[in-house]
Symmetry: C2
Subunit: 333 residues, 2 copies
């Protein structure tokens, strides 16, 4: 090793200067440090990982970064893990469990100390891989009866249920539901759960089940808005539409107003999810607010606690959600 030679010591001493400087004589330490600085030596963590069976790397798997809730989540993970000196290896699954499996297989090769996944929908092979690797796992963005290991999220069924309850309390009775496609729901059971929550609240209230319309791309604001506006035009008896996410909700508000509809007087709109755009359209979108960055932070903290051998009081963390009432619906009385 160049540094050792330069400083006239053994490789072991260099290693000590870097990892346990206290155990090295002051003079030696200085000599080695000087060599490190001059040569711009950066310890090879691949060798380290190999030897210590600890990589200092955490894997984060999200569906996409195009939706700000997930980029916020990653930011939260990044912030928290950096505090503990862990690096972040990122995977984007594009909402596909198969792609997720492929990515996890590749990422596991780097021997991450922990893995943070989005959601609870994974292939059987993914579960097997994770178990074989016996790596700590946190599932984010949903709370279910059964988790691979740990979890940080909230009740997605409840989110759909409560926003619908809120709409009903506002006095709306004739609902349209602008959903993502069944194909999307098949790959994203959080969406299914929210849908079910919506239907459940409506059933509970003994109201006519909502007329459903699917959008194509659940992240396309303009396209979803057009579909929603067409739908409203074709269903003149509705007094409110519930949108499966905030992108659709915002698109719907914008396009409806473009076409001369009054929101909420003629048609109320609510969404699920609260990217900053939801507060900025006119009128603002009534919606369910999630806490993306906090979910990420908590997930990373939970994982890091485990890695540091700290006791974990609860492996399942419910961070909740919040109904945010804005101008796109009348206030509940």
């Amino acid at each position: 090793m160049a540094v050792a030679k330069h400083a006239g010591v053994s490789a072991m001493t260099v290693s000590r200067v870097i990892n346990q400087p206290g155990k090295v004589a002051e003079a030696t330490r200085k000599k080695v440090q000087a060599a490190v600085d001059i040569l711009g030596y950066v310890p090879n963590l691949a060798a380290n990982t190999l030897r210590r069976e600890r990589s200092g790397v955490i894997v984060a798997m999200v569906p996409t970064l195009e939706n700000s809730v997930f980029s916020d989540t990653v930011q939260g993970i990044s912030n928290a893990s950096e505090l503990e000196g862990c690096q972040l290896l990122l995977g984007c699954s594009s909402y596909s469990p198969e792609r997720e499996e492929k990515l996890i297989r590749a990422l596991l090769g780097h021997r991450p100390d922990g893995i943070i996944l989005t959601g609870t929908l994974h292939t059987a092979e993914t579960r097997k891989l994770l178990e074989t690797a016996s790596v700590p796992v946190v599932e984010m963005w949903d709370i279910a009866a059964d988790h691979i290991d740990m979890a940080v999220g909230f009740d997605n069924h409840g989110a759909g249920y409560e926003i619908t309850e809120h709409m009903i309390a506002c006095g709306y009775k004739a609902f349209g539901y602008i959903a993502t496609s069944p194909e999307h729901e098949a790959h994203e059971n959080r969406a299914t759960k929210r849908s079910n929550g919506i239907y459940a609240a409506i059933a509970k209230a003994n109201i006519t089940p909502p007329v459903r319309q699917n959008v194509r791309d659940p992240l396309d604001i303009a396209g979803s808005g057009k579909i929603a506006a067409d739908f409203v035009t074709q269903n003149p008896d509705l007094d409110a539409i519930i949108c499966a996410n905030e992108i659709i909700g915002v698109g719907a508000i914008a396009e409806l107003r473009n076409r001369g509809w009054q929101v909420p007087e003629q048609i109320a709109v609510c969404g699920i999810g609260d990217a900053n755009i939801a507060a900025l359209v006119t009128p603002g979108l009534t919606t369910v607010q999630f806490h993306g960055q906090e979910i990420g932070k908590r997930a990373a903290e939970l994982l890091l606690k485990r890695l540091n051998g700290q006791p974990i009081a609860d492996k399942k963390l419910n961070v909740g959600f919040k109904i945010v009432c804005r101008g796109s619906t009348t206030k509940a009385n």
Copy 2:
């Protein structure tokens, strides 16, 4: 190695089955593959990296993921690098060159095959580290005279210059400039370049230099909006404000309208940058559109080309920008 034993072959044969299956007899290959599947074997890439001096990892360094231009950029990098089977190690510098240096030092330990940085402002130590590591580098989001290695971006001075030129062509003469703070500009020379472009265009037109007002947090929509609206109120002679970014611009439009101002009749607003919110406020924000995802994609492609030993026609890629005219300004004639 467990797999080798299980299949009754040597470790080398297992390695060949995984990396060059063509060079192994059909029967052997099947036997080994079966053992791999049963045992859920995942090759240790740390050992691989150590031996081959190639990690299959790319580092991406962005200031933050809270701004969608950078999460889009990371998405672009992720998409492109996944095609080549490279994994993404992510760093968030929080706009601090010192933090960037610290992160790069840590990340270099993983022996990335390439590094993608945001901007051209790096500490001397960072440059030294990168040079010593002799790792390919792409700098994104700006084109300068001199780059560490490769670059994908656009002319930031030009962006400020052209949007201002556009405003002048619209007939505006009395400008306010809502800028990020000098401290921010000190850490983000792209902001400085855009500012300079704005001033240059105004000087060229022989118009009174703009009155400048700084915001505190350049990513805080509501706070920036209030500051901008107060500023407009206190400077009644202005006919237009130029905002240093689209967050400020959107906040300004929302808050000005809240306070009863007519945009653009009483005060026009333009911004720089085009997150989806810019198109969604009423009126839409006239702004300079950048191509975050494309910048990321191109940066990764450039890097991967280099890694694959392909010839690189131009190490400096200018992806340009686009003036997008919306309702917050009158149309230029």
